[in-house]
Point group: C2
């Protein structure tokens, strides 16, 4: 059945915001989050405006929606993003528990105008010791104590 | 040569923060970012405290460091994280341009106490149409206009 007419309208809004964001000095990306037919989160790429490398459109939209709803779980929500999420944003979408992802441009389209999404996807695919950035294991025994503390705790908020 | 004694001291600090964070009601994770031997960013997991699914330790540390330095690029910085980064945080580390990653626990350790890191890594590996969350392509032609605008623009801040 999906996508339907209302999905298209939400995506048009995300795309319009992505165009406006370029004129505001940000990257060409925007996203909106919808629950029960209502927009509950909006985000645009603000990396260079806010000096925040994590300020991608989807991250900003998720933070906005979670803040508005007062919850760290966005189950039953859809995200409409003007471009396929990068690994950072994909991870955030999974952690948030968003139910459906609609996207416009692809990671290959993003690569073709100079963004690193596709490169980061390729890096994730590699074994840890073959990546461009060194990943070095250190003090794993000591680090495990916090995990044991967490595991043994009764009154904790899981997520 | 690495890791050396000072790497161990920074990791001990990250691990100590991860233990303290449990007592503050957060998840068992912390990270610190170091540049030229000096701590420039600290982050702990605040997902359930802040109602923010993106508030993982590494994301918080990157935002803190970028804010302190007034830049969206953390080249020449190391991150010491009490656990191997999840895909969201790995993506953020790559976008920030951090040079070296030291980690304590692994994604498998995280899975063993109930966290989804390993599941999300497995999802990223799948073709888009085989993932648990539906990824639906929509209005790609219209979305491509913003990318063309970006590509054609002269005065832009790239990242």
């Amino acid at each position: 059945m999906r996508p339907n007419k209302s999905d298209e309208l939400f995506m048009v809004k995300a795309i319009d915001l992505s165009e406006q964001n370029i004129l505001k000095g940000g990257g060409p990306f925007a996203a909106i989050i919808v629950k029960n037919g209502e927009i509950i989160g909006i985000g645009t790429n603000r990396v260079t405006i806010d000096n925040d490398p994590t300020a991608h459109a989807e991250i900003m939209a998720i933070r906005d929606a979670a803040n508005k709803l007062g919850t760290f779980k966005l189950e039953g929500c859809e995200i409409y993003t003007s471009c396929e999420p990068c690994p950072m944003c994909l991870g955030a979408i999974y952690w948030a528990g968003i139910s459906t992802i609609f996207y416009g441009n692809t990671r290959k389209d993003a690569a073709s105008i100079g963004f690193n999404d596709d490169f980061i996807y390729a890096e994730i695919d590699k074994p840890i010791e073959k990546r461009t950035i060194p990943f070095i294991s250190l003090l794993s025994d000591k680090a495990s104590i916090a995990f044991k503390m967490w595991n043994d705790m009764d009154n904790k908020t899981e997520y």
